[in-house]
Symmetry: C2
Subunit: 430 residues, 2 copies
């Protein structure tokens, strides 16, 4: 007999069905046992009467055990959802120890357990339906983005994690024992994306891990996290990149709406508001917010400028553009009419930066000049500089940090909450 998902039981009223899942709640009323069964699609109440052949088994069950139930679907106004199962047979598939290290079912509403314990037992924490929703939404959002990539002829590439040198900066890179030598873990696939452009692939996207050896203990830093990166050839400037990014983000939201209507997600309006960093600073000053850096936004300023833009436009997103060269890497292209400014932007969402994008300088002589200005070691850059010497289309790109996006979308205050198995300075398990 084919297993039926709990969400589909309403289509099977009066039928005998097989359902499978976790024992969410048990209520033993002596002559009757109520089992709330939970699968990935929902919960259903199962009634086990004394004349059921597996009544004793039902009495001995533990919460979070995994069982199969055969029974009759009945309309029952009193039951949550309007249906219940009259249980005919129970098969115990996996027995849970009577004491759980953390609770799944937080009966009083709100989470009772601190985040450290919950992450220690992430495989129990994630059984809460609202947690599964995070990964359903993540999956749907990525599908939407990939629909955008498909429609616009992007090619997916997988870029290596292993690098020969410690990237552009040398700092904050993990070192790996690599046979008789050392390798380093990529902080970003950016140089590889650019190589894809030099390879003539024109438009590429990447989804994969990036690694940061930062000794940061904040709620928005992890040592390993997923990056969604894109790079586009033959662009005019960073405005083309912003246009692409807002479209891919919108298709992501649309797909969540389509696949998970119950989440009632709001689809952002595009185009997103765009203001220069200079304008952002002026708005912040007018609002009485003073940052520490002349050309950059502090986390507090990011929060406040998003509030201001939300009030002005209703949009949760805002692009801050045209950052000063002093706070941007050497490879960002500069404005012809104002070489102090880069053709770059950050995308902020609900108070936090989720993207940095820029047109890259693809002219080797200018790139080299800018590297020297930034006091980079040209020897370390020689391989990077080389792939502009044999023809390279003008190009640019950016990366989206999905954990920050979903943290804000779901109203959490820690990126770990939306990461399947987070890794940070202190955490390498489970």
């Amino acid at each position: 007999m084919e297993r039926i998902y709990i969400k589909d039981l309403k289509d099977h009223a009066g039928e005998e069905v097989v359902i499978k899942g976790f024992v969410d709640t048990l209520r033993d009323q002596n002559k009757i046992v109520f089992i709330i069964l939970r699968d990935i699609t929902g919960k259903i109440q199962n009634v086990v009467l004394k004349d059921c052949e597996d009544f004793d088994l039902a009495k001995d069950l533990t919460e979070e055990s995994v069982i199969e139930i055969k029974g009759l679907v009945k309309e029952e106004k009193q039951a949550p959802g309007g249906f219940e199962i009259e249980t005919k047979k129970i098969v115990l598939l996996s027995s849970a120890a009577p004491e759980l290290p953390i609770p799944v079912n937080t009966r009083k509403g709100g989470e009772e357990t601190n985040i450290t314990s919950r992450l220690d037992y992430r495989f129990i924490d994630l059984r809460k339906p609202e947690k599964a929703n995070i990964f359903k939404a993540w999956t749907a959002f990525e599908r939407g983005m990939r629909n955008y990539f498909e429609k616009n002829n992007f090619i997916q590439v997988y870029t290596p994690s292993f690098m020969n040198t410690s990237s552009e900066t040398g700092a904050e890179v993990f070192e790996v024992s690599y046979f008789e030598r050392k390798a380093y873990l990529a902080q970003s696939p950016q140089f590889y994306k650019q190589m894809a452009i030099a390879s003539g692939l024109e438009k590429v996207f990447i989804s994969g891990p990036v690694f940061r050896a930062e000794e940061s203990f904040t709620t928005r830093h992890m040592t390993e996290f997923t990056g969604w990166d894109f790079e586009i050839g033959f662009i005019n400037d960073h405005h083309d990149l912003m246009k692409s990014e807002e479209e891919m983000i919108k298709t992501g939201f649309e797909k969540i709406k389509e696949d998970l209507p119950e989440l009632d997600i709001e689809i952002p309006q595009i185009p997103f508001p765009k203001i220069t960093i200079k304008e952002a600073k002026e708005k912040l000053e007018a609002a009485g917010v003073k940052g520490e850096k002349e050309h950059d936004l502090s986390p507090e300023e990011e929060r406040r400028i998003c509030e201001i833009i939300k009030t002005e436009t209703g949009n949760d997103f805002v692009f801050i553009t045209d950052y000063d060269i002093s706070i941007r890497p050497f490879y960002h292209m500069r404005h012809e009419n104002n070489p102090q400014l880069t053709k770059s932007a950050d995308l902020l969402y609900k108070g936090i930066e989720i993207t940095t994008l820029a047109q890259r300088e693809h002219r080797p002589e200018i790139l080299e000049k800018q590297a020297v200005e930034k006091k980079m070691d040209l020897n370390l850059l020689s391989k990077y500089l080389e792939f502009f010497k044999y023809g390279c289309p003008p190009h640019g790109g950016g990366g989206i940090g999905p954990s920050r996006l979903f943290m804000k979308m779901f109203g959490y205050d820690n990126v770990r909450e939306v990461t399947f198995l987070p890794r940070d300075v202190n955490r390498l398990e489970p």
Copy 2:
């Protein structure tokens, strides 16, 4: 003026258009210059006459430079493809050095350059249209698989690369300096996939890098490669996994056919042939092929059994099932009626193994017993064993190695040929 892709020029006959791309070939006939321009969609001949304002620029061009051409699309029976462009204007976007380290255009047909040099200059090697096709096909295939995952309610998870212990075996694992301690790079996301099942996510898929510190120098081993992994809860046995895998592979092939009809790819018939390892050995013996191991196939035996099955059934795929426990890991579930055999299978494609799948043992007491039998250190396994103790659905899964799949699909003899930027014992660049 919007840029037109070369493949779409046939729809613009008689119009003035802008095209962009690499200078594929230059032919200077004194009073006329022919430029074959190449973009990601094709090639087109551009004629530059003496009265063109950029005639001198055309004469000075180098092959592989990146240019923009404005010109008139004309039908021309003599030109390759039946069209050519009468060039009005040329903009030089990026100038290529006159001497390329490796040729893009192998005029005589066949590749002139050895694989090491080609991989050293992968960003030039990949400009050959037949190489770009590999990554277009890879992208299309993954889209098809994801369509299968979407239709069947799989959730995507991103699993960490960083691990606390050196995995189940301790061998062949890369060690990372992780602040004051050591971390290890995951050889496989398998334990994490199983954790997703214990988390109640029911069906998950993963696409990401896996790392093997093997000192192997063969044509099918790399130190880092992409893995496509899936794990399914509430299965009956490994036959459910084989059914899912053949369907996801078929949808992958179908999507290549749809997106890239010009590749003329053959869609495999499902169900794939399935034979036990015992039957495979009998067939091989009947064909006079003798392997070294009683319960496993050598690379030569893999090749030969695929030939035999291809002859018998016409199929390039074959599942070899029910391997002996001696050559399978402790966590493979065993047949109730024959505990010497595991509920496992390998999928072979055109002579090479591309998947190992199995139902996992989810009952902690049996799992522990099997681990002891295999002389595993239970202390190292304690975290793994723990997540079966609080309820875990019966489950199983497998992983596909796309580089092996595409190597065979495209008729290459080295996985590096179908990997964007391969990494092996000797190679950490570019």
